[in-house]
């Protein structure tokens, strides 16, 4: 193959165009998903002091779990701490937009929900927020997926997805695994 250096560089350049074309397709797919389906990574620069997380407001113990507000918005608030989730089981309705809000009073944790693409880190100092819709009913596993200390292996919660007609919040708008 007595190709000249020019011919070699020419073929390399053509391949480079193909390579750039291939990665452009990936980027276009990402942009499409962002524009049409609003797929974004879970980013939420919302600060909260981990040291006073338990004291007042949104993440006090009695305020955790799933609640429905006056407009029908379903929000689940969960705390990830060494080494449990509080609540250890929370309930969500099927096929209805849900907002999940997580916070940590101590170290870095993370969650995923099996069978879904719900996945986020829980970093002390921040509230992690996910907007999603659960499309299948049943009990799903929610492990802590980021190393948080020696008890990390046993840090699991359950997400109970129930059909809409079985999702019955009480008068205060709260729903729990026991009732719902």
């Amino acid at each position: 193959m007595p190709e000249t250096e020019e011919a070699i560089l020419h073929s390399e350049f053509r391949w480079a165009l193909v390579a750039v074309g291939m990665v452009s397709v990936i980027m276009l797919a990402l942009i499409y998903a962002g524009l049409v389906q609003h797929i974004n990574p879970p980013s939420n620069i919302e600060n909260i002091d981990p040291n006073t997380l338990h004291l007042t407001g949104e993440f006090t113990e009695a305020n955790l779990g799933t609640s429905v507000d006056a407009t029908g918005q379903v929000t689940s608030r969960i705390v990830a701490t060494q080494f449990t989730f509080q609540p250890q089981c929370f309930v969500v309705p099927e096929n209805h937009p849900v907002i999940l809000r997580f916070a940590s009073p101590d170290v870095v944790h993370g969650i995923l929900i099996t069978g879904t693409n719900v996945n986020t880190m829980v970093v002390p100092g921040y509230i992690s927020q996910i907007h999603t819709v659960f499309t299948k009913t049943g009990d799903l596993l929610m492990p802590c997926h980021e190393y948080c200390g020696l008890g990390h292996s046993e840090m699991w919660a359950t997400v109970r997805v129930v059909p809409k007609d079985e999702f019955k919040p009480d008068a205060a708008g709260r729903a729990s695994c026991a009732s719902g």
């Binding site: 193959m1 250096e5 070699i8 560089l9 073929s11 390399e12 391949w15 480079a16 390579a19 750039v20 990665v23 452009s24 990936i26 980027m27 797919a29 990402l30 998903a33 962002g34 797929i39 974004n40 990574p41 879970p42 980013s43 939420n44 620069i45 919302e46 600060n47 909260i48 002091d49 981990p50 040291n51 060494q82 101590d106 170290v107 870095v108 995923l112 069978g115 693409n117 719900v118 996945n119 986020t120 829980v122 970093v123 002390p124 100092g125 921040y126 509230i127 992690s128 927020q129 596993l141 492990p143 802590c144 997926h145 980021e146 190393y147 948080c148 200390g149 020696l150 990390h152 292996s153």
Partner: protein
């Protein structure tokens, strides 16, 4: 025979001893996670093991190997003695002392923070200082690589730096840029906390600083494998490097685009915003390009070799390649693993798919395959290629070398492919014991056992590798003349290259500009917003 051969051999032997020790831990960890009952299994033991395994494989084995290989290239490609050999020995000593210091602290149970450190968990300061010593030793290596190239250029004005050395120095410069992130995290945040000077830490900032290092470091590990692809494999196959220019360009593209992409390791983190995640994901798409270029260039180079050996037809040249030569075999196996590992990487960089695999076993499987597979198999092949030159001995037979490489490939595939699948099923990371009574988890059990079996094959491969290296010393030295290193020639060896392809001034400027755009505000925001800090949790037994 290189003058610095004892220096080089010291680095490589220490690296491979570390590899073997970490491999033992790796097998135990896989056993612990499986449904089969494992001995010594407590939470403390498991996470100390994970810390030791990760720290050794990621920081010690790699850095020491790359330093030794770099010294080898500096002497053999430039055909001059390494300048500053005393400094090089100092770098080695710092690396060894640091590694041992960190290891001792981990095995004492006072540093179970994993190799990614995870503040606000804080270990004994001896652990971090051990890691720092290894890094400082490697900085000495960086300085010597840059110096060696500068000295050669002054003595050879206008001539192109041999590609192997150009790539090695690109890697050294990449490493200097890379370590800025973790050094800042350790010096300003983690070590002061470990010494008790700070009781709280800005976790978002430390994760972001660490992400700066976390992606570029994998290219630091990968580039020596690419050096072998470009400068050793074509020669071993009996062919020529298709394009020297494209080789240089590939290494330059790695230098530019490996760095400003670290936030793709934080795609699921709350402390970084969408826009910067998108920016860094776009740049990640660009770092795919030099790998694609490499596949083409090396494919073409191998095709030259295959056709020279009589291969015909569209793909017939593949069969005609001398697969009995370990370097050629390793290159082929490495490319196969690069295919799988690369596809996995494309999944990781797209955040819709990343959301399905983040912090699952998919991630662990991915980096074992792409790093443990693609890169480390080439470390083995490089060792087989340079040991004769370092020891002036030829191997008794190439067959054990080929067997060892095949075992590594097979073991890696058996270990990592089911592991990828487990990640898709939702198996989370860093878990010491699973509740196999749970039906969802029980379904994972058989695949974990298959993975364990792959790990055992890998361990056998490591043992055979060490045996093969030791075998060299049982053969008589070649008396006639010293064995020389031979690097691949390009089809058209350049007589002159533009200074932009012969040096790094322009590229450093571009790196600075891109890093300012990609990491400027993402880091500055922590000082602008001043988020609440998390109180330190000490894992070293002090309050």
């Amino acid at each position: 025979m290189p003058q610095a051969k004892r220096l080089i051999l010291a680095h490589l032997w220490f690296a491979f001893a570390a590899l073997a020790a970490a491999a033992v831990l790796g097998v135990w960890q896989m056993w612990a996670r499986s449904p089969l009952p494992a001995p010594f299994l407590t939470a403390e033991a498991y996470f100390a093991s994970v810390t030791a395994h990760g720290t050794t494989m990621a920081y010690v084995m790699t850095t020491l190997f790359i330093m030794g290989f770099g010294y080898y290239v500096a002497e053999t490609a430039l055909e001059r003695a390494l300048p500053g050999r005393t400094w090089a020995w100092l770098g080695f000593v710092l690396g060894v002392v640091g590694a041992l210091m960190a290891a001792a602290t981990v095995f004492a149970g006072r540093a179970s923070v994993l190799y990614t450190f995870y503040p606000p968990l804080i270990a004994s300061s001896f652990y971090y200082m051990g890691v720092v010593l290894v890094v400082v030793g490697s900085w000495i290596w960086c300085g010597l690589m840059i110096t060696a190239m500068a000295v050669w250029k002054r003595a050879n004005p206008g001539k192109p730096v041999p590609l192997a050395m150009f790539a090695t120095v690109a890697n050294a410069i990449l490493w200097l840029w890379t370590t800025v992130g973790v050094a800042a995290e350790l010096f300003f945040q983690v070590i002061p906390a470990a010494l008790g000077w700070n009781l709280a830490i800005d976790v978002g900032l430390s994760r972001t600083l660490f992400s700066w290092t976390l992606h570029a470091i994998v290219y630091f590990w990968l580039i020596p494998a690419y050096i072998a692809f470009y400068t050793m494999a074509p020669q071993a196959a009996g062919g020529r490097l298709y394009s020297d220019t494209m080789g240089r360009l590939a290494f330059i593209l790695f230098l530019i685009y490996s760095l400003p992409v670290g936030i793709h390791h934080l795609l699921m983190d709350p402390e970084q915003a969408n826009a910067f995640k998108f920016l860094q994901v776009s740049l990640t798409a660009l770092v795919v390009v030099p790998t694609l270029l490499t596949v083409f260039t090396i494919g073409a180079s191998m095709e030259i070799a295959g056709r020279l050996r009589g291969g015909r037809g569209l793909l017939g040249w593949i069969g005609a390649l001398p697969w009995d030569r370990p370097m050629v075999l390793a290159t082929g196996l490495s490319f196969l693993m690069l295919w799988f590992g690369g596809l996995g990487g494309l999944v990781n960089m797209s955040y819709g798919m990343n959301a399905m695999v983040h912090n699952t076993s998919w991630v662990t499987a991915h980096f074992h395959l792409i790093f443990g597979g693609t890169a480390v198999i080439m470390y083995f092949a490089i060792s087989y290629a340079i040991w004769p030159v370092l020891t002036n001995r030829n191997p008794l037979s190439l067959r054990p070398q080929r067997i060892q490489l095949w075992l590594w490939f097979i073991g890696m595939m058996i270990m990592t492919l089911p592991w990828h699948y487990l990640g898709l099923l939702g198996q989370s990371r860093r878990v010491a014991t699973f509740d196999y009574a749970n039906p969802i988890i029980a379904a994972w059990g058989p695949w974990v056992v298959v993975s364990l079996f792959g790990g055992l094959i890998l361990f056998a491969s490591v043992l055979l590798f060490l045996w093969n290296l030791l075998e060299f010393h049982r053969t008589p030295a070649v008396i006639a003349e010293a064995l020389r290193a031979r690097y691949a020639l390009a089809v058209h060896p350049p007589r002159r290259v533009p200074s932009t392809l012969n040096g790094f001034a322009l590229w450093n400027v571009l790196v600075f500009i891109i890093m300012a755009a990609a990491y400027g505000y993402p880091i500055a925001q922590f000082f602008v917003i001043g988020p609440p800090q998390a109180i330190v949790h000490r894992v070293d037994g002090t309050r």
